[in-house]
């Protein structure tokens, strides 16, 4: 179900393609950051031009309009996530910051000597290091559920760790390395039943996932980044249940987040503003909302089918290619494909791909422990979106072949 016409229509919406020559470049680094549709650039410029003044500060009508636009963007994110109310959505700079706020705030408010947090060996560094630091400060311990050779989290290890009654259980929706989709609803149910707070790193894969419907879910905290959802970089979100926002300490102190300041005391504003000290990224928030609008306009089934078909095509094509080994590839992968090329460092593979105008990622992918658990030091990663088609994969294969020809041929004169 790879529909050339549908893809052509998508490409027409992204300046990346309309501004470049033929053949169109193959952007296969979508797991790092997605391309941005024209409507997002327009939304940024319009917000920059039309919104005047700061938010939540002044009586004049320009500031009121800016405030309403900013809060409407928050409401749009909340609606998209299925949150109970907009106040549960905090704007952050990215998923990394969101995770730091949760981990650090939890550690400050609730961390105790002996506290345990369960993560998986699949984590992006951003869902690992903040927890380790918080636990080190409070004298707790990080439990890590290992992975199987196929890249999935080992269910026995995970359940055994859960039986140790961690206070927090954190896991990724989708691995940013292998694209493996975790059984997050099931894990959340089990973790909540075990009395743990449930933290979902939804930075990866949210764009393809069925609605999370957070209000009725078993999650307590969910994080994500606009730049992986067709939005601009520099804006992300932290969703938290209203009740948690009452104990989570504000991460930054200063203007806007404070109600009253005396010589020795201060009283915080209500959530969400308590968590947004200083002048926020108003324009980024509007760009993010515009991206969600765009996303909502694309038929979900069509997106999902396209992605599944293209991923399967890519898995088949790369698996058949001499010297290429897939890593952690599974039928349900969320449009991400990790691989190596025998005898050639991933960085060099990526360089030859780049020469074919193909963008892939190579390296540790901000998930060094996972990659090492899979037996590698670094990997190549191709990741797909609505504007990718089979020719992109074919071009990647050309790059791989050229790299092999260059490095593996008998080359001494």
């Amino acid at each position: 179900m790879i529909d050339a016409q549908w893809i052509a229509a998508r490409r027409a919406e992204f300046p990346f393609f309309t501004d470049s020559g033929q053949p169109p470049p193959a952007y296969l680094d979508n797991a790092a950051t997605t391309l941005r549709p024209r409507v997002v650039a327009t939304a940024l410029a319009r917000a920059c031009t039309d919104l005047t003044g700061n938010v939540h500060r002044a009586t004049h009508h320009w500031s009121e309009e800016t405030t309403m636009a900013y809060e409407a963007a928050r409401a749009a994110v909340a609606r998209w996530l299925g949150a109970a109310e907009p106040a549960e959505v905090l704007f952050t700079r990215n998923a990394t910051e969101s995770l730091n706020w949760v981990a650090t705030g939890w550690g400050q408010a609730r961390g105790q000597p002996g506290a345990r947090v369960l993560v998986t060996a699949q984590e992006h560094h951003s869902n690992l290091l903040p927890w380790r630091a918080a636990l080190q400060r409070c004298g707790g311990a990080c439990l890590v559920a290992g992975v199987q050779p196929d890249g999935r989290v080992d269910p026995d290890q995970w359940h055994a760790a859960l039986a140790q009654q961690p206070q927090v259980v954190a896991f990724p929706l989708v691995s940013n390395v292998t694209g493996i989709v975790n059984p997050v609803a099931e894990w959340a149910r089990a973790a909540r039943a075990a009395g743990a707070l449930v933290v979902l790193d939804a930075a990866q894969g949210l764009i393809h996932h069925p609605p999370l419907a957070l209000a009725a879910s078993d999650f307590d905290f969910v994080v994500g980044s606009g730049h992986k959802l067709f939005g601009p970089p520099g804006i992300g979100f932290l969703w938290a249940r209203r009740a948690h926002l009452n104990w989570l300490p504000p991460p930054l102190l200063g203007g806007e987040m404070v109600a009253t300041v005396t010589a020795t005391t201060a009283q915080w504003s209500e959530p969400p503003w308590r968590f947004e000290a200083g002048t926020p990224n108003i324009i980024g928030a509007l760009g993010f909302a515009a991206a969600l609008d765009y996303l909502r306009g694309l038929d979900r089934d069509q997106r999902t089918n396209h992605l599944r078909a293209l991923t399967q095509y890519a898995q088949t094509a790369l698996a058949a290619e001499p010297g290429v080994r897939l890593v952690g590839a599974r039928p349900e992968s969320a449009g991400i494909l990790a691989f190596t090329v025998e005898g050639i460092h991933p960085h060099d593979v990526a360089q030859f791909a780049d020469a074919e105008n193909v963008a892939i990622r190579a390296g540790r992918l901000c998930a060094q422990p996972y990659i090492e658990a899979l037996g590698h030091e670094s990997l190549c990663r191709a990741s797909f979106q609505v504007y990718n088609d089979e020719s992109d994969i074919q071009r990647l294969l050309v790059g791989i072949r050229r790299a092999r020809a260059f490095f593996l041929a008998e080359h001494k004169p």
């Binding site: 939540h56 009508h61 009121e64 405030t67 009452n246 404070v258 109600a259 009253t260 009283q267 504003s269």
Partner: protein, 147 residues
């Protein structure tokens, strides 16, 4: 700009702001509620003389803009003789009405309608909502910040 500030300052609001009713200190045994509007620096105490759950009398004290002053002034009049709990359960709805989200509730007293125009002035909604927010914040009722 078609909004006219004189709409906002409906004659009742102006009257009550310039000559607030039930203004001034209250006896020390009255129950005190407190609310602030950090954006403009308004800070008020609302004191209720309670007889069981019934409000025998109400007074207020503090400083704020015309809208919040009038809102407290009107509130002291409305609350007198009423059950505290009845109004506490109503505060959310009043705030939603002020925010322009819901229509006026037919069972509310007409005097509240003086604040109708506030709905066009988003940054003033807080001012008008202040006494109703206070009702849910008996002293000490704020989140005490750690500094």
């Amino acid at each position: 700009m078609t909004r006219n500030p004189t709409d906002l300052y409906h004659s009742l609001i102006r009257d009550q702001a310039c000559a607030p009713r039930n203004f001034g200190p209250a006896p020390p045994d009255w129950r005190v509620f407190h609310a602030e509007n950090p954006a403009c620096g308004d800070a008020f105490n609302l004191a209720l003389d309670l007889d069981g759950g019934r409000i025998r009398a109400a007074r207020f004290n503090g400083r704020g803009c015309a809208v919040s002053t009038a809102a407290f002034s009107v509130a002291t009049e409305l609350l007198t003789g009423e059950m505290l709990e009845d109004w506490q359960t109503r505060t959310e709805a009043i705030q939603r009405w002020l925010a322009g989200l819901t229509p006026f509730h037919p069972q509310w007293p007409d005097a509240l309608r003086a604040f109708e125009a506030v709905r066009q002035f988003p940054s003033r909604v807080h001012c008008a909502a202040l006494p109703w927010q206070a009702l849910l914040k008996p002293q000490p009722g704020h989140t005490e910040a750690p500094s």
